[in-house]
Each structure stands twice: as structure tokens, then as C-alpha cells.
Subunit: 537 residues, 2 copies
């Protein structure tokens, strides 16, 4: 009985035997119809009938793709095709990225699999490749999934426009899944850099520029570009490094509820919903529950999960749903213990990305050129007051107890880069008034707080602090910040049974990837972004 | 400017300088009041004044805990206290688990940190430990966080009731955070096994049994028990192994949106909400988006994230929010390629848990005794028809094209265990009518489907299948299952641009932990469970 695991059962759970048989008969009929339709496509079937070599090519009928047989001849990955396979027969599966006929006797196809490409040549050859087969190959739609069997050859001239240096002399070619003849966006267009478009324009040529909404509306095509393949593989790596580092430092991974009663942490707008008759909302962060887990003796915890913000922010760096990387830990004495984790974690992350994701970073850079991130072996820490002083000296007017705006953050980032040679630094001791209610004030000046933000290339990616662990003080702070303490009473109560001093931080995954790669919009680093206007795909 | 990372900024973002100063003055006043209150607690201050050794103990004022100084003398972890530290001075932080005074000159405290415990002895000693200090120690509340400085000794008699074999001769003891004198649940009660309660009852003694709702209402205390510490550390390990295995097999970790338009996959009830004026709901699984990511050329993807089910299920194994472990991958020929991943992944996981989580498994077993899971090196695969046959032969009446209910799943689990000696197996080729609309029918009999469930100890933990990758066929299947195809048009459209045959599966994290550890209720393996009646803490 499928139910609570990944898949949702159909509504008519207890289908009767009779209904099931009726349904089965209907499905069989449908399947046959589908097969016929697929076979007759491109009026190719008739032509193939006249060809004694017709078994060597064609559209694979659906029934063959319904797990009829297991793999008998092993597939070779496009990325592993190289000289050592010379003269061997290989079978590959990939997309027909480009198809080019040369006369009637030859057709070239570039086959793409997971970012790697190889050129395949279908050339008329007695007893092997018929002219009907070459014609069939030439009429394939771009982006169709194909199986190609052929012999590996090593051309005298190096091949342009494919990642692999060998070529495949096609013997058999089958279409597994046909793409529509007209695609809403062309992958070549989607993969083009701004400088290519401008260069072409200078030469008097107009090239298609695919705008962001078109990309996002057709995300399934858009994410096939080399840059996007790189971006999301790097995102996967960031998550991997984040976890590996923290697990090695004795952190426990937790999963806290996204459905919560009351109004989350107050402040910015929350998504509200009805939970079985109770008013509920989506958690704006795992803040309250991760702190409760510290009170529950896990010592050090982290979570990777979605966070929800119903803000009407139409900026390059805000989303209504994004992936939060959250950390919370006991501290013995000082919030610097938390900053130490940030420091070591991110230096390790940047090192690892630079070392292990060269191919991905290059792919991104080809479309969106960027300079490698400048960071120090030991991360720079400045106090908020020092930051304000630097801005003042640079002639920026600024409220010493207010928050920094986007512009002053950027400016400070530039000043720090000029002075210290780093684009990654920590700014700490923020004014208390601009931090959340649970932030611990400084011991020596309660106008400031034991908190910090972390910046990459002048933009904030991390926010962290020591928390107030004394329940009565926490209550007063919440009230002072205009929060209805009744709605967070379970949170406050969790500090009444002995609460260790603790602190933590939250990171926006999409921002880390965006800023590490010098990208200009957070929608580029969210697979299916959600903003105030976008709820699809 | 804190904003899109983990923490939510306060609503009064642009607080003026004046307001900030006013607020600061108020906070300073509050802080002083808090300090005074904390110092005067237990009328201890007055007594301490008469004691020349008063600096060696007492409640630490809040100001000292506001990151006033950094760690100068290193803390030793309770778990690392052992013979080799004999006669050395150590500093530890942990909870006062139990406090026992022996006369007026001696007090024993068991200090607990992350599941490890050590006995500390405060004994009156000229120029070192005053009788006031012993009295102070004796009046500490259980579960308070304390710092203990003392000398490690190795007792002649082994210590009972503590995990560490050494003892600490207390020289200094400070209370960092006082627990309330009366706790809503007693940790000793919460950690007691059913058999202990029954044994006591047989001996005519009544012991407190903490019921599940009381535990969940006071989860911050409940999760401090050794069994719960074990459960959630194992949950963390399951996630770690899941990821490590898949990353090593070239899967990419993705994050898909939980906020989606339309009505998710239909079928069971969904949580609905208003998204900036658009009707939206919470994803019942990442099914649609993970398939779209396969169409987007990631080849193999996985996701770990919350899934939401608004079902009114009041069973031991259903939650309204749980953590889904989701996998999707291209397949070359057969859905057995997906089952191969399941097989190797879970055998690797069970091996690793048994090997690396002995301590945690023991802790769970002490409170909730269970037999280690029986599983084969190569996971057993039975067809649904074979399963039905086994049930029939055992005299169970059953619809051969209907779904299995909980009872028949349990029965089949027992039959499989008896016949094949395994409590972990795969049942595949389910009737099509009981699977979701996107499930691929079998090539040879469309009454069945290329799908599977996986069972541990007679309960389902995984559901998987080959998917329909042909858009028109998918549309027909959706319609046949009563789904409004308009609401899933972007999903269906994503198969129009070349879609590789693919399949995948979903796992319920909480179920894996529950069933691996033989627990009887899924609320035991969810940190803060959500069911139709529970939305807190």
C-alpha cells in the first residue's frame, strides 16, 4: 500500500476487480493507439518498409520502452568516449543537439549527454547504412533522445563543436523520444553570452537574446544549457560540503516542521493557511525549532530546508521560497565560537569548489564571465562600528545605529576589498534595534548586539548571533519588538528547563551560489524560483 | 542588512537613532533587573557574602554570559573523561542530572553532556570547598546547566549510574542556567522502559508512565532521554548515508519548490493557501519537479525535504508533514535499474548503521527493546502476483488487482520472513489501478504496472516506479485518474521536448528510522511531529 513515502496514491484506492479490468482494457486500447501514432510519425514507416536495412534505425515504439527487456549491450557515457576506444563498437544515449545533412548521403549529429558532446556521422554504406537511414537521421528533431550504435574513430583533424575528440561512425540509430519540431527556446540562444550578442551586433548581425521570464517559463529547456548545468551541480556541491564539514564537527542534522501555529517570528509577512481548522503559517526559518533542539541537548544542529517569506520584494536577491542552511550550537563563552565555524566552513567550501568544480565554473564563466572570489585563509572580522567608520571616512553619510542598506553594503564591500584584499568578510556587533528579538545584547553596550552578518562581493549571505537563553529576558525582548508572546509561548517555555548559552546562523543557499559565481540574479540559482509574481513551473 | 538568509529582520527595520537609544536605555535597565533577580534567587547571595570561598561557586550573572570573554581554560567533554586524566584539573559543562546530598558535608551530582554522564563530588575541604558551597550544590535544580571545575580521580569501586568510570572532585561549581524547580516531566520517568514499569508493578510498586501526548507537549525535555538522543542521531546518519551513496553514484542534489500552483498531484487532500492572490498548495511530494529535472538533463537527481499531506489519518505511521527522501533517474531499459539502486543503497545503509551506530542502537534498545533487522546481501524481489499467491496459500482472501491493506502487508511480511529469512524486500509489478497516474503500465499486461513498494518488518517505506514519459499518453492517464490536466500542464509540457525514459522512488525518512529500530509509532521518529490534531510545539 503506497501511502506515506514519496508517492501519492490515487484517490480511488480500493478499486474493485471489475473496475480494474475495465480500466486495463481501456489502457491497452490507448497504448496500441499511441504506438500506431508514434510509428506513423513523419510518414517514415512507409519508406522504411522498402528498405532491407530498416531494422537499423527508426522510432522505438512505446512498448519497447515499457521495461520489456533489460540492458544486454552496455551503454558508454558520452563523457568517457576517448581514443582508447578506437575501432570498438559503442552504444550511447543522448540528445540530438544539432543535426546537419551534407548532400543526401551523409548526416552529422552532435549527441549530448550530461554536458558532454560527441559528433556522430551517418554515411551511406553498402549493407550497413541505407540512404533512407541517412534521410531519417537528417529529419530528426533537435533535442530528441536517441540511441546511437557505431564504431569509434579518431579523426585526423580535431573536431570543433564537441567536447569529445573522437567521432562515431553510425551503424544503428533509434529515436527513443521525439522532441517537438519547434522548441519554445533554442538552446544555442539560451546558452549565448551577452558579449557574443554584442559582438554580433557590432558586426551588424542581430542575435536572439532569451529574456529571463522566457527562460523561467521554459525552465526544462533552459536548465539544459552548460551554464545552468554547472550552476546546479555547484549548488549540489555547496550542500555536500556544508553537511560534510558540520557532520565532521559533531553537528546533528535535524528536520523541523514548516507548518507552525501562530505567526512564525513576526516581522516580515508570512504565508498563512488553515491547518485542520487551526490558524497556521509556513515557517520563515527553522529559528525557533533549532533553538529548541539545542535546549533538547543535541549540542550542535544543522538543517537544510525550504524557508518561506511572503514579502513583496522585487529585487535581484529576494525569493518567496528559498533553501535555508541553518546552524545552531551551544557556546561556552562567546559568539566568536560561532564565527569560527562560519570562517572554517566557508573557507573549506570555497577551496573545495575551486578545486573540484573547475569544469562547472568554466561552463558558467563562458556564459556569465566572472572573477574568482577573493578570500583570505583566515576570514576578516570587522565590527559594525569599524564598518561605519570606513564608510564615514569615504564620505558616506550613515546612521551609526541604523541598518546598512544595499548601497552602503556594496560600498563597504568595495572599501574592504581595497583595504584588506578580500571579498568575503564578517561584520559583527550590529545595533540591537536592527536585529530580531531573540538576539543577545552586548554585555558592555546594550545598543549593540552579539550578532553578525557575512558578506560576499558586497552582499549579505549569512546572518547570525548569540541568542537570549533566559526566558524572562526573552519575553521582554519579544514584547519590546511588538511580538505577541502568546503565539510563541512553547518556544519561550523551552528555555525554562535549563538552557545552555547558544548561537547560530542562517545562510541562503541560492545567494551563496549566486555570489560565489558573480551572478546578477538569484533566479539564476533557484531551480524553479518563486517570487511574488511567479508560482510556476 | 539581514534579510534573505536564515534570520528574519525585525519589523521596525529603519529605527531612528533616537528610538534606538531609548530602546538601549530600556534594555540596560531590564538587564540589570534580570541580573539582580538571578543573583538573589534561592536567597543564596546573603549566605555567600559570609563565605571567604564564595568566589568558587554560585549563579553566573547574565552579563557574564553575554560574550564578555572568550574561553581561556579549555572545556573537556564529559564523554572523553577517562583514567588517563587522573589527578588533572578539568572543566566541564553539562546538566545536573541528579543531585544527592549526603549529610551536610557532601553532595553528589551526576553531570550529563550529550548522552554521557560523570559523577562529581562536592565535599567540604579546608581552604577549598566551604559548607556553604556544599549546601549550594545540594539545592541546585535538576536539569540546570552547570560548569564544574575539579580534579579527576579514579575510584576503587566502579561507579554505578554514570557512563564514565572516573569521578570529579569538585573545586568550583557555577550555575549557568537554572532549570525550573518543578519539571513537567521527569527525565527518569521519560526514559523508563515498559518492562521496568511492569516489573515494578509485579513487585507491587507503581511507576510513572509518561504518555505520548505529554512527551510531545514537552518535547524539549522528552528528547533529552538516551533513547531519543539515539533516535535522532540515527536519523541524521540515515540522511548522511542516503546522500553519500547517491552522490557517489553521480546523482545531483536538487531543491524543488514546496509552494505550487494548482492542486499538486491530486488524490489525497492537500493544504491550500493564498499565494499573493493566486490559489496555491503545498507539494505532496517533489514528484512533478523531480521528473522535470530529469527532462532538464540532470540525469540522476535526489532531494531531501518536507512533504505535506492533509489526510485525516490517525494511524501509527501517518503524519501531515514528514521528510521525503526522493530519487529520480534516467533508465536505459528497465525499472529494475531503479530497484538496483534501492537494493544497494539500503543494504549499504543498514550495514553502516549497524557498524557505526552501536551506541545509539543500544540506547534505543534499552528503552524500546528490538531485534536487529534481518536483511539479505542481495535484496529479495517478488512480484505482486507472487505475493498474492503466498497470501492465498496462507488462506488470506485477497483481491488480485486491488491494493494490499496494512493487515495483508504485515501478513505477507511474516510469510516472506518465514520463507526467505528477510524482513526487507521489494514487491513489484503492482496493479496499475492502485498506482498514481504517472506510473508506466507493464508492456505485457496493462492491468499491471512497472512499479514497486519496499517493505521493512511488514510495513511499506518506499514507493517507486517507471514513469510515463510520453506527453499524450500521460495526459490520457491523468484524465483516466480524474485529474484536471489544466492544473498540471507545465508538468506534461515538460515531456514534449525530448524526455528520456526514467523512474524513481520516494522514501519516508521517519518510517525508515521507525522500522529499522522496530519502534511502534512514527511520532517517536519525528522531532516535532505534525498530525491532524497536533501543530505544536
Amino acid at each position: 500500500m503506497s501511502s506515506e513515502s514519496g508517492e501519492v496514491p490515487p484517490s480511488g484506492q480500493a478499486a474493485s476487480k471489475k473496475a480494474a479490468k475495465k480500466e486495463a482494457a481501456k489502457q491497452e486500447k490507448l497504448r496500441r493507439r499511441m504506438e500506431e501514432a508514434s510509428n506513423s510519425s513523419a510518414s517514415q514507416a512507409a519508406e522504411q518498409e522498402d528498405d532491407p536495412l530498416s531494422a537499423n534505425y527508426g522510432d522505438v515504439p512505446l512498448s519497447e520502452l515499457q521495461s520489456k527487456s533489460e540492458v544486454d549491450f552496455p551503454y558508454t557515457e558520452v563523457g568517457s568516449l576517448a581514443d582508447h576506444l578506437k575501432d570498438q563498437v559503442v552504444l550511447i544515449r543522448g540528445r540530438a543537439q544539432t543535426i546537419r545533412a551534407v548532400g543526401k548521403k551523409m548526416a552529422f549529429i552532435v549527441v549530448r549527454e550530461r554536458g558532454f558532446t560527441v559528433q556522430a556521422v551517418a554515411s551511406e554504406l553498402a549493407d550497413m547504412v541505407s540512404h533512407q537511414m541517412v534521410k531519417y537521421v537528417a529529419t530528426l528533431n533537435r533535442e530528441s533522445i536517441i540511441d546511437v550504435e557505431g564504431i569509434v574513430s579518431v579523426p585526423a583533424e580535431p573536431i570543433k563543436g564537441a567536447s569529445q575528440k573522437v567521432e562515431i561512425q553510425v551503424r544503428k540509430l533509434y529515436c527513443i523520444s521525439r522532441a517537438a519540431p519547434a522548441l519554445p527556446i533554442n538552446l544555442e540562444d539560451a546558452a549565448r553570452s551577452e558579449s557574443e550578442i554584442e559582438k554580433a551586433l557590432e558586426a551588424g548581425e542581430q542575435m536572439v537574446r532569451v529574456n529571463q521570464d522566457t527562460r523561467l517559463n521554459n525552465r526544462v529547456l533552459d536548465i539544459r544549457t552548460p551554464a545552468n548545468q554547472g550552476i546546479f551541480r555547484i549548488q549540489s556541491q555547496v550542500g555536500k560540503i556544508f553537511r560534510q564539514f558540520l557532520l565532521s564537527e559533531d553537528f546533528v542534522e535535524i528536520h523541523t516542521p514548516k507548518l507552525i501555529g501562530g505567526s512564525s517570528e513576526g516581522g516580515s509577512a508570512v504565508f498563512k493557511l488553515d491547518y485542520k481548522g487551526q490558524p497556521a503559517c509556513l515557517a520563515q526559518s527553522p529559528q525557533l525549532h533549532k533553538q529548541m533542539s539545542i535546549c533538547g541537548d543535541f549540542g550542535r544542529v544543522f538543517e537544510i530546508g525550504p524557508v518561506f517569506r511572503a514579502e513583496d520584494s522585487f529585487t535581484h536577491r529576494h525569493l518567496c521560497e528559498f533553501t535555508g542552511l541553518d546552524v545552531e550550537m551551544e557556546i561556552k563563552k562567546h559568539y566568536s565560537e560561532v564565527m569560527d565555524i562560519v570562517d572554517r566552513l566557508f573557507v573549506a567550501m570555497f577551496d573545495s569548489l575551486n578545486e573540484n568544480c573547475k569544469k562547472e565554473l568554466e561552463a558558467i564563466g563562458r556564459q556569465y564571465p566572472f572573477e574568482p572570489l577573493k578570500y583570505l585563509r583566515k576570514t576578516l572580522r570587522l565590527t559594525f562600528e569599524e564598518g561605519i567608520q570606513m564608510l564615514k571616512e569615504a564620505g558616506v553619510e550613515i546612521d551609526p545605529l541604523g541598518d546598512l542598506n544595499t548601497e552602503s553594503e556594496r560600498k563597504l564591500g568595495q572599501l574592504v576589498l581595497d583595504k584588506y584584499g578580500t571579498e568575503f568578510y564578517i561584520l559583527h556587533r550590529y545595533p540591537l534595534a536592527v536585529r530580531p528579538f531573540y538576539t543577545m545584547p552586548c554585555y558592555d553596550n546594550p545598543a549593540y548586539s552579539n550578532s553578525f552578518d557575512v558578506f560576499i562581493r558586497g552582499e549579505e549571505i549569512i546572518s547570525g548571533a548569540q541568542r537570549v537563553h533566559v526566558p524572562d529576558f526573552l519575553t521582554e525582548r519579544a514584547q519590546a519588538c511588538g511580538i505577541d508572546v502568546k503565539t510563541i509561548s512553547t518556544y519561550i517555555d523551552s528555555f525554562r528547563y535549563g538552557a545552555p548559552p547558544h548561537g547560530g546562523f542562517g545562510v541562503g543557499l541560492e545567494r551563496v551560489v549566486m555570489l560565489f559565481c558573480g551572478l546578477n540574479n538569484i533566479r539564476k540559482t533557484s531551480l524553479y524560483p518563486r517570487d511574488p509574481l511567479r508560482l510556476a513551473p
